[in-house]
């Protein structure tokens, strides 16, 4: 685990507060999408297929901050689209830092080097760089040659200037465990703080529908990839979530864990499914039929989903729900053995 102690403390105290208040459902990470525009058109992405007038629009900083206040989650992830194309990204980040929110700015890093001057290094700000494997795999996943090298340049520049940098990797069917292990080494050599992994989700609007992982295959891939993990590999996510991906734990989805806000409102029910929008966070929490989602519900859209935005919150909640869960997390973290 590579999460700084202050961040761990913030998350732990937030979760314990929710437990003490006996809140059955609480948000963990706000997924804040200020725009859908992107400078890539990745085959596995279901986020950018919109008509031109929608791609030109974006939220105001005020709308973003109102959503952050409404939601109250301690972590704000800024995906998109490409957030570095958001014209007020510097103002938004500065305001969130003032609020002491831990920010994961999810970027393909194509613009990172040229936009770094807009930001100030802070423990609250992490550039989470999209990296779907080594050069060949990454460029193939993003459907453009040269992007891996541009991202590496961006990462080096950000690290040199003292920023926190992590990587986020989505894995599709056909990924090679051995190549991924090489990829982990390469990212650690670059000096990133940690890596985040997740299997891809089969967006119904994504151009590529053939290469998404199903549960058994996911377990097999992650088991092979993460067996005998090297001590130097650092993962910026719950070790219990990784154990879940390896098939060593059985979790149920927490669809309200990572609520999503964008120009359409609060997305029902989760970051991946788009079944409607609520006008307020409260309306999302109170008016969504949560029992219709997750594996137990039998909803076929949830059947093969093992994505971090649904299960990482479950893993974190599990850590703080019992002494056993806490002990397991501590043990895995200290031993480094998944």
């Amino acid at each position: 685990m590579s999460v700084p102690v202050s961040q761990m403390y913030t998350v732990a105290s937030y979760v314990l507060q929710q437990k003490l208040r006996r809140r059955k459902r609480y948000p963990f990470v706000l997924m804040l999408e200020p725009l859908f525009r992107c400078n890539l058109a990745c085959a596995g992405c279901g986020k950018i297929q919109y008509p031109a007038q929608i791609l030109k629009k974006h939220l105001t900083v005020e709308q973003c901050l109102a959503a952050v206040a409404e939601c109250g989650a301690p972590i704000v992830s800024i995906p998109g689209g490409e957030p570095l194309m958001y014209p007020d990204i510097d103002k938004l980040v500065a305001e969130l830092v003032k609020l002491k929110k831990y920010i994961y700015l999810c970027t393909n890093a194509i613009l990172l080097k040229e936009k770094l001057h807009l930001f100030t290094p802070s423990k609250y700000l992490t550039f989470s760089v999209h990296m779907d494997g080594l050069r060949e795999e990454h460029d193939e996943a993003v459907c453009r040659d040269g992007v891996f090298d541009e991202a590496v340049e961006g990462i080096k520049a950000a690290l040199q200037r003292g920023f926190r940098v992590t990587t986020n990797t989505t894995l599709f069917d056909g990924a090679s465990p051995l190549r991924m292990r090489e990829f982990f080494d390469e990212m650690m050599d670059l000096g990133v703080e940690g890596m985040m992994l997740s299997p891809g989700y089969s967006y119904s609007k994504a151009p590529d529908q053939e290469h998404f992982l199903h549960e058994t295959r996911t377990n097999q891939l992650f088991s092979e990839m993460l067996s005998k993990p090297k001590r130097r590999w650092k993962f910026n996510q719950s070790p219990l979530f990784l154990r879940f991906l390896m098939g060593k734990k059985d979790f149920e989805c927490t669809p309200w864990g990572n609520p999503t806000f964008n120009m359409f409102g609060w997305q029902r029910p989760c970051y991946l499914l788009q079944e409607g929008y609520a006008a307020s966070f409260q309306e999302l929490m109170d008016g969504t039929k949560w029992e219709n989602y997750g594996k137990k519900s039998g909803n076929e859209k949830c059947r093969d989903c093992m994505v971090h935005c649904g299960y990482e919150a479950t893993a974190v909640d599990h850590t703080f729900s019992s002494l056993k869960g806490f002990a397991e997390t501590v043990s895995v973290t200290l031993s480094g053995k998944l």
């Binding site: 058109a41 929608i54 459907c143 609007k205 151009p207």
Partner: protein, 122 residues
């Protein structure tokens, strides 16, 4: 399959509720034809079929909105805009990459054939 170009007739076989659901899932612009004869072109991003007064919400072609239109005011919805989710960019990309790999493999094969493998076999 894409609904691009579909002009549904609301009748006993195709309900307005179904058409609205298809339009909500559609990632291009549509034309909402109102019962009073008026039309509005835009992107439908939300619908609440089970609300006390069922409605859709859309941003128009200029990006203005959101506009809310009750179901009772809608005659039909035409799928007039291009479907941006119907692309085959992945397929085209994979085909191009496969051609490149084949060319590289052919080139390296020719290279190996023309080189002395050395005492240990290369």
């Amino acid at each position: 399959m894409s609904f691009e170009g579909w002009v549904p007739q609301i009748n006993d076989y195709t309900s307005l509720r179904e058409v609205v659901d298809f339009a909500f899932d559609y990632r291009g612009n549509t034309t909402v034809v109102k019962r009073d004869g008026g039309e509005i072109v835009g992107y439908i991003f939300n619908r609440e079929a089970d609300a006390p007064e069922a409605f859709i919400q859309l941003f128009d072609e200029q990006g203005d909105g959101p506009f809310t239109i009750p179901y009772r005011d809608i005659a039909t919805i035409k799928f007039t805009g291009k479907d941006p989710a119907a692309g085959n960019s992945w397929k085209a990309w994979v085909e191009r990459k496969e051609k490149e790999r084949a060319l590289r493999a052919a080139a390296s094969g020719a290279d190996r054939l023309g080189r002395d493998p050395g005492p240990d076999g290369g």
